[in-house]
C-alpha cells in the first residue's frame, strides 16, 4: 500500500521541520513515531467498527466483579486447606506473608466449601468468553507505536504483561487441572497460588488506574440505546485518546448488541453445560461437557469418586480382614477392627463431598463413629488436632491434619457406612473421614491411623 505510506509520513515531515531546533532525543522519538513497522503497528490495520472504549468498559465491568469473586473464592479455598494448622497440610511452605489472612476453617455451614469451590470453578469457566472479548477489544494496544512515550507508559505496559500473562495463566492452569491434565511444570497449587498473587498485584493497580476511564466510557453511550441498534445503524464510537477506535473502520457486520449477545450466549452455554456438576441432583445430567456430569454407578455407593482405589494402588490386602485402625496420641496405642468400630455407638449425618476441582455430590447419609469419641477412646478427651493417615502409599493427601474445631464437631465422623450400605472400596472401605465444610481432599479415605494431639 504505497499511497498509505506516503500519507502517513506527511505529518512526520511537518513536525520534523517544526522541531528541527529541538534536541536529538526528541527528534529521534518523533521519527520513531512517524515510522511504525508494517502490519498491526499501523493504525489502519485495526478496522472493527465496534471496537472502542464503551464496549471495552462493558466487558471490563463484568470482569471487575467476576474476577474479584474468583480472587476471593480462590484465596478462601486456599484457607480451607488449613495450611497453618500443620506442615502436613501446607503445600506451599514458602508462602511467607501471602498467608497473612489464614484462619481455622469453620465446619458451618456444612455446604460452605461446596458453594465456594463450585462458584470459583463454574464462574471461571463462564468468564472465559468475557475475558476473550475483553482481550479482543484492547488488542490494538499491544501494538502501540512507539512502544512507550514516557516512563509512566513503559511501566504500565510492563504491568499489563503481568496482568494479561497472569490472568491467562490462571485460567489455563485452572481449566487444565479440572480436566486432570497436569502438564504444567510442578505442582498446581504452587503455580495457581503464586500465579494468582502475581496477577492480583497487577489487577489491583489496573483497577485503580482504569476505573475512572471505565466509568466515563460507560457513561458515553446508553446501554438501552445500544440494545436497540441493529447492524445497519451501527456507527463507530468517536475517536478516543486511547486509540481503540479504528482510524479506518470497515462497514459493520455485527452490531454492539450482536457482540454482547454472542459473548453472553457463550457464557450461558458454558454455564448450562457445567453448573450441573456442582448443583447435583437431577441437574447433574445437564452438565454435558463438565467432567462430572454423570454418576459413576447406582445404588448407595453410586456417587462421584475423586480417585478410585485401583488408580491410587490400594490392594485388597490393605483393606481386607487384616485391616486395623490404630489410635495414638494417648497413654497407650489402641488397635480396633472394623467390627470393634461397628460395635461402638454410631451417628449418621448428611454431608456432601465437595472437591477442589469444583464438582460436588449431594448430601450423603454417612454412618460412623464421631472423631471426638475416638479421641476419648484414645485417651485424649480434649484434642487440639488429629493427624489422619491413610493406608494408601504415595500420592498427595495420604496424610492430613484436622484442626481442633473440626475434630470437636460431632458431625465429623470416621464413616463406615454410607446411605445404609457398607462403604465401597472406591469410597474408602473399611473407614474414611468425613468432615462438614472441609474440602474433599481432607476427607481421607482408607484410614489406617489417627493420632490425636492435646
Amino acid at each position: 500500500m504505497p499511497e498509505d505510506d506516503a500519507e502517513e509520513q506527511k505529518p512526520g515531515r511537518i513536525s520534523r521541520a517544526v522541531h528541527a531546533a529541538a534536541g536529538p532525543a526528541v527528534r529521534g522519538q518523533e521519527r520513531l513515531a512517524a515510522h511504525p513497522p508494517p502490519g498491526p503497528f499501523r493504525p489502519g490495520f485495526w478496522r472493527s467498527p465496534i471496537r472502542g472504549p464503551w464496549l471495552t468498559a462493558v466487558f471490563g465491568l463484568v470482569l471487575l466483579f467476576g474476577i474479584t469473586t474468583l480472587m476471593v473464592t480462590g484465596l478462601l479455598s486456599y484457607a480451607a486447606y488449613d495450611p497453618d494448622v500443620d506442615p502436613v497440610n501446607d503445600l506451599t511452605p514458602d508462602k511467607g506473608i501471602l498467608g497473612f489472612y489464614l484462619f481455622d476453617w469453620p465446619t458451618r455451614p456444612y455446604w460452605l466449601y461446596r458453594l465456594l469451590q463450585g462458584v470459583h470453578v463454574t464462574l471461571g469457566i463462564v468468564l472465559v468468553p468475557v475475558l476473550l472479548a475483553k482481550l479482543w477489544s484492547v488488542i490494538p494496544k499491544l501494538f502501540t507505536w512507539p512502544p512507550a512515550r514516557s516512563a509512566a507508559q513503559a511501566l504500565e505496559r510492563l504491568s499489563l504483561l503481568l496482568l494479561v500473562g497472569g490472568v491467562i495463566f490462571e485460567f489455563v492452569t485452572g481449566i487444565m487441572n479440572i480436566q486432570l491434565w497436569y502438564a504444567f511444570p510442578g505442582s498446581f497449587y504452587r503455580l495457581h497460588l503464586y500465579g494468582a498473587w502475581v496477577f492480583i498485584g497487577a489487577f489491583v493497580a489496573h483497577v485503580i488506574l482504569k476505573t475512572p476511564r471505565m466509568l466515563s466510557a460507560l457513561r458515553s453511550r446508553s446501554l438501552r440505546a445500544e440494545l436497540r441498534t441493529d447492524t445497519a445503524h451501527t456507527v463507530p464510537e468517536p475517536p478516543d485518546p486511547d486509540g481503540l477506535v479504528a482510524a479506518d473502520p470497515a462497514a459493520p457486520t455485527m452490531s454492539r448488541r450482536g457482540a454482547l449477545a454472542l459473548v453472553g450466549t457463550g457464557s450461558l452455554v458454558l454455564l448450562a453445560t457445567t453448573a450441573g456438576q456442582s448443583i447435583g441432583g437431577a441437574w447433574r445430567e445437564t452438565a454435558l461437557l463438565a467432567p462430572r456430569g454423570r454418576e459413576p454407578g447406582s445404588g448407595p455407593n453410586g456417587f462421584q469418586i475423586n480417585k478410585t482405589a485401583a488408580y491410587v494402588g490400594i490392594t485388597p490386602e490393605q483393606i481386607g480382614p487384616a485391616w486395623r485402625l490404630r489410635l495414638s496420641g494417648g497413654p497407650a496405642e489402641q488397635t480396633l477392627s472394623r467390627e470393634d468400630l461397628l460395635a461402638m455407638p454410631l451417628s449418621t449425618h448428611a454431608l456432601p463431598i465437595a472437591c477442589v476441582e469444583g464438582w460436588s455430590t449431594d448430601d450423603q447419609d454417612w454412618t460412623g463413629v464421631p472423631l471426638l469419641r475416638l479421641a476419648e477412646l484414645a485417651g485424649v478427651p480434649r484434642p487440639s488436632a488429629v493427624l489422619v493417615q491413610s493406608v494408601q502409599t504415595g500420592g498427595p493427601f495420604t496424610a492430613t491434619v484436622l484442626a481442633g474445631n473440626q475434630v470437636r464437631d460431632l458431625r465429623s465422623l470416621l464413616a463406615l457406612r454410607v446411605n445404609g450400605a457398607d462403604l465401597s472400596a472406591d469410597h474408602g472401605y473399611p473407614a474414611r473421614v468425613i468432615v462438614p465444610a472441609a474440602p474433599g481432599v481432607h476427607n481421607t479415605k482408607w484410614v489406617g491411623r489417627l493420632t490425636f494431639r492435646t
Binding site: S159, Q179, L191, V204, T253
Partner: protein, 156 residues
C-alpha cells in the same frame, strides 16, 4: 508536581500503584519461579504470547474467511446471513477451547481410571451440541425470513 509529571509522564498515584504491583509481583514471582524457573516462565509469558500471536490471528483469519465466503455466495458486499454462521461456529469453538483436553482425550488413562467414568463421551457430545447450535441458528434464520416474506406479501 508539574515537574514530576513532565519527568515521569503521569501522576505520583500512578507510580505508587505500579510500585505496589511490582513489589507484590516480585514477592510472589520469587516463589513461583523457585521450581523449574525456565518452564514456569515459558508458561507464564507463553500464555499471553499464544493468545495474542496464535489464537487471536487464527480466529480473526477464520472470521474474515467466513465473511469473504459468505459475500462470495451472496455476490454482495456484506452478506446479511453471515452472523447465522458466526454465532454457532463461535460457540462451538468456545466449547472446544474450554474442554479441549476432555474432547480430544488428552489424558485418556488418567481420566477414566481415576474417576471411574467413561471419558469417550465428550467428543460425540460436543459434536452433537455443535449440530444443535447450527440447527438452532438455521431455525432462527428460517423463521425470520419467513416472517419477512409474509410481511412483504401482506404489503403487496
Amino acid at each position: 508536581m508539574a515537574r514530576f509529571r513532565r519527568w515521569y509522564g503521569a501522576s505520583p498515584l500512578h507510580l505508587l500503584a505500579l510500585a505496589g504491583c511490582f513489589a507484590l509481583a516480585a514477592y510472589a514471582a520469587i516463589r513461583l519461579f523457585d521450581y523449574e524457573p525456565l518452564r514456569v516462565a515459558i508458561w507464564f509469558v507463553g500464555a499471553a504470547v499464544v493468545h495474542d500471536l496464535v489464537l487471536y490471528p487464527l480466529y480473526s483469519v477464520g472470521d474474515r474467511t467466513t465473511q469473504e465466503a459468505a459475500s462470495a455466495v451472496s455476490r454482495g458486499p456484506a452478506a446479511p446471513g453471515v452472523n447465522y454462521v458466526r454465532f454457532p461456529a463461535c460457540l462451538s469453538l468456545l466449547l472446544l477451547l474450554v474442554w479441549l483436553p476432555e474432547i480430544l482425550r488428552v489424558v485418556v488413562d488418567t481420566f477414566d481410571r481415576s474417576t471411574g467414568l467413561d471419558g469417550s463421551i465428550f467428543l460425540p457430545r460436543w459434536l452433537l451440541i455443535t449440530a444443535c447450535l447450527f440447527a438452532a441458528s438455521a431455525g432462527v434464520w428460517g423463521l425470520r425470513n419467513l416472517r419477512r416474506l409474509r410481511r412483504r406479501q401482506h404489503r403487496l
